[in-house]
Symmetry: D2
């Protein structure tokens, strides 16, 4: 850490900072500049020290040098993580495609769409059984019945089931049916949930919160990794900005940035990332070109009749078109899909 | 709802929209404009209809007319809600002040600061026992031991205990000790938690998520109200924007906006809202002038030694100054504090 | 426009709105809903009417139905615009690549890099002679001398010169040398400049302001189109958000969105859009996959010694790599490059 | 500056950074930490060095220590600047109030409202003669005729005329009539305009761009100060965020932040900052409580008939109410108004 003193900070204030640094078990190193004094605090400590120091009198700011996460970092693990669940493989130059309806709505709907997706080349099946809904008056999901239908769809198609878990107490139940536990964007910083999911021993798809920085996103992954679960996929699904022509803003530079920063694979969700079916295929292509290790997209037989998110769901025909186009882009960037 | 058709939408597409509106139990009403056709859908239905319609062929967009929340609305309940817990009274032209350390760190720390706050005029005591921390390597709180200390501080001072609950399964435990349950910004859309908190029969302080719109904020409150708990305070604590000179951006126009929109009282948190102790007093004054019904601020005997959030904590002396200045502003706007 | 009345609006207030609509030369149409009354205002008027109506007593909001721009709209001109300047062709399934240094720094620097870019397949040469700089203490460009060097580089290579004009009074001078006038992001809403550029009869590259909505962006283009200049390229160069791992956030969904909305071609700037050389190639690939009609990138022989923007400049070798990779992606999406 | 090397940076890379630092005329100072090496670059150089260094191989990031602006800083000038123009005094514990219509619309409108404002206690008169409008189809102002009317209103009332100048070439004309030149939010980084305004020798009201950071805002002021004009007022008028219940988000923490950082006075514009007349009074009160040195508000005799911005204009009665309420708050915080 670098402690930047205010211009005109007194020697006593500087001495106090040095004393605090040493109390924190770090080594101090003073640099006297032309206009300001700077004190470096050397050591491995990542937590707490920054804020302890920035409260000191005469301190202007404290600049951290080390990344706050460890286990997620490429500095700690160089080889890239590949997440696998049945036929779904995400990472390692193979793009996994997870597709399905926003919500599980019924048996025939689910089994039919699962079959179509399988034929079109998906390897994972998404579908919400427990649904986080902005309004308490909206459909909240089929719950355990939905999970049973997902398991039945897996049995018929071999697709890996990817489904959301919303509460720590539901983790054992959802993990009984799911091949991948999804932590939704609203729950990215629901730490009791992250810890429970980390213990469950099932691969995890962790969605980025709509206002999370990369450090916060990687620290959320760190909660899961720390519990001993290293099968974590990071999912970019769009951020909240002032833009009003899309539901969220989908910032694809996170894909190459995360590839430089973490060994965990990166999945992109162009359905939530745009909120408009008419933009999904172009953004799926762009995601693949940016280097994404996976895609997760909403598909519904009849989007107009979907109970949720119909406006951003592809039809089966559009999904097949997306697959065809993305496969060409994948080949162009040396990936398989 | 107003369904705006694309220019050149066919009669068949328009007929289809009308049919869908009627299937949804709504009445339709066509308006043929010079460049576009618009179809109004009349009725009380708030949920699901919008998205069902906006997926239709030839539809450009669907504009909702009714607010998505009901019980939180001034349209449903005209008299303003006043939340009370022991001596803490928020709303009804009395400004409640909740103060205390970010985290409960130990017995003497807590009892000492509680006594100081009481003397300075606070009526609520904040202090985290269960702490949501961005990093898994940070201090996670004293848990139940912390709750016991808060209860002891209440006994000695009469201050109402306001403390965060992070997981649905902890609600009964925290509710046993707390006078007000705080739902943190990261959990604003943790629906299982909101429901459980709504059942607990204890007043709730609901913090705005850093990227939540007003509709999302009020719908989160609606989850609590719907369970029969009407003692809900809305807390503005800052949003995430591009600004980098403060930790969050504190948008005080939410105070008068919420007063026009909902009967629930509004509390402002200038500590998290700025993230810098040196800006807290000015923003506390501004909050009161904007009409806030309450303040929640972080205070620590020795901010430099605080385990968390020291950089945004006031000293006891600064808190007394804040109280003195805010009381003058409160008097100027016809409020008591 | 749709005028939504507040619940409980009086008949007198509704009558007043109707009267105002008619004074504005529009036709009114009342719809009485279960909870609110809505009044449609029919006609072609796009400007002023909205705000005149939303000030009325008892009015809650006014929702525009028509897009605020006309000439930029696909509704007015269906065939796509292709912008051409010497060998640079942007639109019509041919991707134009504009490359070069941030600033023109000297003769040998410029002629050398221009030659390299030409060989690598660029068709346009960028380079700032008049430089808008955040700090008054930064290098402000070589001005007319820089323009002369750009013209010399064009003569040697045949590359079309794309360079920024910052002030209305400089338009004639810059237009004397440039093949394409660039309006920078900071000047997207500099209307006197847009008008002058529109009169100059030279193709224009209009950069999106970092906080501009799509409507504002298209209205800025409309200022140019209205002066009779239809050779306008829209350039997405990143928006300002809370993200701190990139200099700006590059939202590629604007590419397909603009393709649905306007006939003007869309160029992407992955250099400013990320602010980090290490992310530029991946985002150039993604831009092409999203359907971009052109790319504009910063390239410098020795980025470390660049006077400006070195950290986001590609080396010539990296630029050749970008071209090779983007050509494969272009072929995969049916474009030529 | 602090140059943070990547983990595992080679000695050769470190040596290269040191060499570059010395070439830039700075002194270098190495700090070898447990995981990384850091090199401090000491000296006064503010510009260019940062980016020259951050392009180096093995460099992770460069952290500036010094603020990029000088003349605007409290470090350079400790005594606070008070801007004066006729009876308008902004700074020095006197709050100046600038009020008036968005646009000058005609003689009787302007003279009448100016008289009302004078009587209500305003000391400055705002009113646009040259209007920057998002749409080219909107009213663009009365131009010189409008300036003449403003001058006439000044003569009748003694109010100082505050009006916008949009193009460098118009500065002499506008300066002939105006007491304060306003640089609008869209032009905050229009550097040719800032320089010309700096030369004009007339006080300036500089509005913050809706996506400008504090450093960018102060550097824009620095462009004016550098030309020898020290009579600059900074105006906070709201930023662009995801919030959709107000037109912009008004972040009042900029007021105390700027008071700590610069000697220039700070004016708040609650009209543009909220975009809704019903929120203006509360935010004017909050601005005063936050310590604002001035207010600028839109007032119109008949907001419904205003040519522009009627929805955010106060009526004369509302303005008088605002003045009465703000005076009480001003007294409470030890200011005069």
């Amino acid at each position: 850490m670098i402690v930047v003193m205010k211009p005109g900070a007194s020697q006593q204030q500087i001495d106090h900072v040095i004393e605090r640094i040493e109390q924190l078990g770090l080594r101090s190193h003073i640099i006297v500049g032309t206009e300001r004094t700077v004190v470096a605090a050397l050591g491995e400590k990542r937590d707490g020290a920054k804020q302890a120091l920035e409260t000191g009198d005469g301190v202007e700011k404290v600049v951290p040098i080390l990344a706050p996460y460890k286990m997620a970092s490429t500095e700690v693990k160089k080889e890239r993580t590949c997440v696998k669940a049945l036929g779904l493989s995400v990472g390692n130059r193979r793009i996994g495609v997870i597709a399905g309806p926003c919500s599980v709505e019924g048996r025939s709907q689910l089994l039919e769409i699962a079959q179509m997706l399988k034929e079109a080349g998906a390897t994972g099946l998404r579908g919400g059984a427990f649904k986080p809904r902005t309004s308490p008056y909206s459909f909240q999901g089929m719950k355990e019945k939905g999970l049973e239908l997902l398991a039945e769809a897996r049995q018929q198609t071999g697709l890996a089931v990817v489904t959301e878990v919303m509460a720590p107490e539901h983790v054992p139940l959802v993990a009984k049916y799911a091949d991948v536990l999804q932590v939704g964007a609203r729950n990215m910083q629901n730490y009791p949930l992250l810890e429970r999911v980390g213990e469950a021993g099932v691969p995890v798809l962790l969605k980025r919160g709509p206002s999370a920085t990369m450090d916060e996103f990687l620290l959320a992954a760190e909660y899961i990794l720390k519990m001993g679960n290293s099968q974590v996929m990071l999912c970019e699904r769009g951020i909240r900005t002032f833009e009003d022509h899309t539901r969220f803003t989908l910032p694809l530079a996170t894909v190459p940035y995360l590839h430089q920063t973490t060994h965990l694979p990166v999945v992109v969700d162009p359905s939530h990332g745009t909120g408009k079916a008419s933009l999904v295929i172009a953004m799926a292509r762009a995601s693949v070109a940016a280097g994404a290790d996976g895609l997760i997209v909403e598909v519904h037989q009849d989007p107009e009749k979907a109970i949720s998110d119909g406006y951003q769901s592809l039809t089966p025909a559009a999904f097949r078109e997306m697959m065809a186009e993305c496969r060409k882009v994948a080949a162009a960037v040396g990936m398989e899909m």
